[in-house]
Symmetry: C2
C-alpha cells in the first residue's frame, strides 16, 4: 500500500482534540481546516515539563534513503505507546521537491504525519508567506533603484534574490528590468527556492515577533556603489515584511497516524542554511511535552552540526540524546554497492560502509551527548546485515536498535523508545565545538577538522578579502553555516564512506545578518533545484471530491 493510501485510510482526530491532549485549550489555537491549527503565542505559563529533547539525525544521505522523518514519527508514537507525554517538532516540506522527485516529506508507511496532502502542498501557508515577503522585499529594492536610488545601491551588487517554492531551473539565472526606461533598471538576477531564502532561516531562529523584526531589519540586501552594506532597515520596509510573516511565525499543530501531536514549522535548507525547524516550534513542544523529538536536515555533518552549533545557542537548550538513523542499504552504498544491487545481501559491504556511521557516532559523542543508533528496517534487509551493524556499533560503545517503523508504526520502535528513555536521564555537560567569539577561520577550521575530518581549509582570494571586510564590519564573531554537499563529509559529493586528508575549499562567504550566521560556500551548492525528466507532478491527480493521489 502506498504512503498516501495509508494516510487517507487513517481516521484523523479533530485537531481540537489533538490540541486538548497536548495541553492546549481551544482558545490557544487557530484552526486551519479540521485537522491543522496554528498555536497562538506566547502561551500562558504552565507547569514545567521534563523538557527532554531528542535530536534525530542520520548518516550521509544516499539515493537508498535513510528515513529520518519516518523514524522520528515512529519513535514518537512508540513513546506515546509507553504512556509518555511526547511531541514532535519537525520541518515543513517544501512544495518544489514534492512536485519534482520527492513526492512528499511527511514520513512513510505507518509512521507518517497527517493530513499528508495538505502538509506537502500548501499547509497553513507559511511557505507562501515567506515567498511573498521575500519577493515583496525584492520588488521594493528594485523600485528603490528605479525611483531615484537615494541609498545609492549598486545594481550589480544586490544580493537579495527572488524565490519561488518551485523547482524551476529556468529561473536560476535571469535578466530582469528589460523593456526600456519605464520598465525598470536592467540587471542580472536569479531565483532561489523559498527554503533557501534568508527569511526562512530568520523565521526559524526568531524568539518572537519583536526578534523577527529586529532580524529582518538587519538583513543585508546588497551594497552601495561605495561598497557599504545596505540593510532592510535602511530601506525602511521592515514593518511591511514582518507584517507579511505575522501568522507564519506561529507554529503549526498536526498529528501522526497514531494521533501523537506534532508541530511542523519552518524548513530552511540544510546546506545553504541551518536545516532545523523553528526555535519557536521546539520551545513550544518543550513547554508542553516531557519528550520533544526533533530532527535536523541531511546527515549529522550538516544538519546536526548546525543544530548543535547554531540553533542550540538561540534555543538555550541542548539535546539529551541524539539518535542517528542508518539503514543497511545506505551503508551498503557507502560500502561501494551500486543502487541496482541493493536488494542482494552483502554483509561485507555493510561493514565497509559502517565507517560512515562510525564517524557520525564519534562526531556526535564529541559534543558529550548520549548517542543511540536507529537502524531503519527495510523489507530487503537480512538478519546478518542488521546484526553486523549492531555488532560494530556495540564495539564503539553505542546501542544500535532496529526500528521497523514503516511497517509497524510505533509498535516497531518500542525498543528504541525504551533506550531513548534511558539515555535521556543521563546528566552530562554539553561540549561546544567552538566558542562564539572564536575567529571565523577558527570556527571553520574546527568544523572541517573535527566534524568532516579533513586536513585543512583553502580559501579563495575572494573569501580571504571577505574575511578582512567581515572583521571590519564586526561580523566575524557570528556562528558559521557551512554550505557543503550533503552526500559526503568532504566537499566532493562522490567521496562516500569516511574520507580523510581532503581539503575543503571555501570559495565565498555570505553575511546573513538576519539569521545571524555567516554562510561559507564550498563547492557548487544548487539553491534552485530543477525538475527531472518525469516529474512527480505527472502522476498527481485530484478526484472530483478533492481526494489527491500520486503523492508518495
Amino acid at each position: 500500500m502506498k504512503d498516501i493510501e495509508i494516510a487517507q485510510q487513517s481516521k484523523m482526530e479533530p485537531i481540537v482534540e489533538v490540541a486538548k491532549r497536548a495541553g492546549l485549550t481551544a482558545s490557544e489555537i487557530e484552526q486551519y481546516g479540521d485537522y491543522k491549527a496554528k498555536i497562538k503565542l506566547p502561551l500562558a505559563s504552565r507547569p514545567k515539563t521534563k523538557e527532554k529533547l531528542v535530536l534525530v539525525t542520520a548518516i550521509n544521505p544516499t539515493p537508498a534513503g535513510e528515513g529520518k522523518s519516518t523514524v522520528t514519527v515512529g519513535l514518537g508514537d512508540a513513546l506515546s505507546l509507553l504512556g509518555k507525554k511526547v511531541m514532535l517538532a519537525l520541518r515543513e516540506p517544501s512544495l518544489g521537491p514534492v512536485m519534482g522527485v520527492k513526492g512528499g516529506a511527511t514520513g512513510g508507511g505507518y509512521s507518517q504525519v497527517v493530513p499528508m496532502e495538505d502538509i506537502n502542498l500548501h499547509f497553513t501557508g507559511d511557505m507562501h508567506a515567506l515567498t511573498t515577503a521575500n519577493n515583496t522585499l525584492a520588488a521594493l529594492i528594485d523600485n528603490h533603484i528605479y525611483q531615484g536610488n537615494k541609498l545609492n545601491i549598486d545594481s550589480r551588487r544586490v544580493i537579495w534574490k527572488r524565490v519561488l517554492d518551485i523547482n524551476d531551473r529556468a529561473l536560476r539565472q535571469v535578466i530582469i528590468g528589460l523593456g526600456g526606461p519605464l520598465q525598470g533598471v536592467p540587471r542580472q538576477d536569479g531565483f532561489d527556492i523559498t527554503v533557501a531564502s534568508e527569511l526562512m532561516a530568520v523565521l526559524c531562529l526568531s524568539a518572537d515577533l519583536a526578534d523577527l523584526k529586529r532580524r529582518i531589519g538587519n538583513i543585508v540586501i546588497g551594497y552601495t556603489v561605495d561598497r557599504q552594506p545596505v540593510t532592510v532597515d535602511q530601506l525602511g520596509v521592515t514593518g511591511a515584511i514582518a507584517a507579511l510573516l505575522k501568522d507564519a511565525i506561529k507554529p503549526n499543530l498536526v498529528q501522526t497516524l497514531a494521533h501523537t501531536p506534532a508541530i511542523i514549522h519552518g524548513g530552511p535548507f540544510a546546506n545553504i542554511a541551518h536545516g532545523c525547524n523553528s526555535v519557536l516550534a521546539t520551545k513550544t513542544a518543550l513547554s508542553l511535552a516531557d519528550y520533544t523529538l526533533t530532527e535536523a536536515g541531511f546527515g549529522a555533518d550538516l544538519g546536526a552540526e548546525k543544530f548543535l552549533d547554531i540553533k542550540t545557542r538561540v534555543l538555550g537548550k541542548t539535546p539529551d540524546t541524539i539518535v542517528i538513523v542508518a539503514t543497511a542499504r545506505a551503508l551498503k552504498m557507502n560500502g561501494g554497492v551500486a543502487k541496482s544491487d541493493l536488494e542482494n545481501e552483502n554483509v561485507e559491504a555493510v561493514k565497509r560502509g559502517y565507517v560512515n556511521l562510525q564517524r557520525h557516532i564519534q562526531n556526535m559523542q564529541s559534543y558529550n551527548v548520549p548517542v543511540v543508533v536507529a537502524i531503519n528496517k527495510f523489507a530487503s534487509d537480512t538478519v546478518a546485515e542488521l546484526q553486523a551493524i549492531q555488532d560494530l556499533a556495540t564495539q564503539d560503545g553505542v546501542a544500535a536498535i532496529v526500528a521497523d517503523v514503516w511497517a509497524q508504526g510505533g509498535q516497531g520502535a518500542l525498543d528504541l523508545a525504551r533506550k531513548v528513555l534511558e539515555t535521556t536521564e543521563e546528566v552530562r555537560a554539553f561540549h561546544e565545538l567552538y566558542a562564539a567569539d572564536d575567529d571565523l577561520e577558527v570556527k571553520i577550521d574546527k568544523i572541517v577538522k573535527k566534524i568532516y575530518h579533513g586536513a585543512g581549509v583553502e580559501y579563495s582570494a575572494k573569501a580571504k578579502r571577505q574575511i578582512q571586510t567581515f572583521k571590519k564590519e564586526g561580523w566575524d564573531k557570528l556562528p558559521v553555516c557551512m554550505a557543503k554537499t550533503q552526500y559526503s563529509f568532504s566537499d566532493d559529493a562522490k567521496s562516500l564512506g569516511a574520507p580523510e586528508g581532503f581539503t575543503v575549499h571555501v570559495r565565498e562567504l555570505v553575511p546573513k545578518l538576519g539569521s545571524q550566521f555567516i554562510v561559507a560556500l564550498t563547492g557548487n551548492i544548487l539553491t534552485m533545484p530543477g525538475l527531472p525528466k518525469v516529474p512527480a507532478a505527472d502522476n498527481i491527480e485530484v478526484a472530483d471530491d478533492g481526494t489527491i493521489s500520486g503523492l508518495f
Copy 2:
C-alpha cells in the same frame, strides 16, 4: 479615524456564529483562524431562498474614488437592519496593490469587511495557491522543453507567463534560462500579477472541481513549431495543477463590521479578465440568502458588461437590480475639475460630468434590468451637488439615492436598501447584448457600439489573422473579454465623460480556452503594475503583539 482603526476596534463574531446565522452548520465550514472559514462544497440541499441578485457597479473610476465595495457593504448591512436574509459575494483583494498605492480593498469607514488585515494580506491562501499553480505549470513547460521537448513547443511562442501577487515592474520583461546547457533553454518571458493569471479566471468561472479540471486541461499554453496550440492536457499535468487549487476553489466566509455574512472569493482583473468574484461564491450566497449582493470590477463598461455577458452565462442567473455607484467628486472630475479643486463646490461641473453616469445608466437599462443609482456621500459634498445628480437621474427615470455608508454604515443606506427591495420585485426578461453564436467581430462590434458608444472597430493585421485562425480552431463562438482602459469608455484613458465617434483599436486577440473567452487587447494594458515612489509598504508596521497598522 482610519479604516484599519475602525476595523480593529470592532468586535468580530466568531466565524462559527456568522456561519450559523448564514444557515451553515459547523461541519459545513473549515475554520481558518477564528474569523475566517472556507465553505465545503457541495452543500446539502436546503429550502429555496428568494434568490434575489443585486449587482453593484459604478461609473468610470477616477482618482477621486467611487467606493463601490464600501457601498456594497453598507447596502448589505442596511438590508440586514431591515431584517432581510442577506449575503455579500465580493472579490478578494490582490496583495500587490495593497503594498503599492491601494493599501486595502475591503470597503471603508463603517462599511468594511473584516478581519481587514487578513483579507488584504494572505487571507486563506487562495492567491498564493493560484500563484503556485500558475508557476508550477510554467516550470513544467520550461522543463518539458529542456528535457527533450517531445511536444515540439516553440520556445518563442510560449504564452503562459509566470505570476507574482506583487507589483514588480522589474519582472515585466525578463530573459530566463541563462547560464548554459545545464540551466535551461534561454527565452524571452515576463511576469504578470497573479490576478491576471488565466487560472484566476478559470477558478472564478468553474462550477465545481470537475469543471475546474476540464477548464485547466483546455488552457492553451503556447504553440508548437508548426503553430499548433499546446494545451495543459497535452503536457499531462492537469491533475497536479488542479490538486494545487483543491482548497482555493472553496468560497471564503467572513463578516462585515455589522456581522452581515460575506463571501469573498476570487478576484480576476477586470481589464484582462472578467473582473467578478467566483461563480461558486455567488451561487453559494444565492442558495443561502434571500438577497445576494455582488460587485464587478472598475466601471460598468468593463466589469458589469462582463458580468452580464460572460459570468451570467455560466451562473445561470441574471441580476434583479443593478446599483450604479457614483460620487459628486468623480462626476466633477468627469466634468473637467482637477483633483486639487475637488473640495470646492461646483454644481455645473457635476452636471457636466453627469453624462458619464447617464451613459452607464442607459447601458445597464439596455439589458432590461432595473437600475438604481447610489450616490456615495463624501464629507465635502454639498447639498446642491447631490441634488443636481438626483434631479438629473430623475429626469432619466432612475432613482438616485444618497448613501452615507462610510460614516454611518448600514444606517446610512436604509433608503437605498428600501428602493432595492422594491426594484428586485420587478419581473423582467433579461436582454442579451449578444448571442453566444454571434461571430467574434459581431460581438466586439456590439460591445463597442452599444456599450462604449464608439463609431467602430479597427483590427491590427495580427488581430485579423488571428480571427481567421480562431475560426479554424472553432474558438470564435466564445464570449469576448475586452481588455480596455478602465478610465474611459474609449480606449484612450484621458477621454473622460461620454466620448463619441471614436474608434476602438484591437491590436491582438488572446484565446483563453480555460476561461472560455477570447480576450481582445485594446491599447496598452499593464498586466504587472509597478510600485510608486512612496509605496504603501513604507508605512505598514506590525506591533510586537501582531497588530498591523498602515493599511488604509
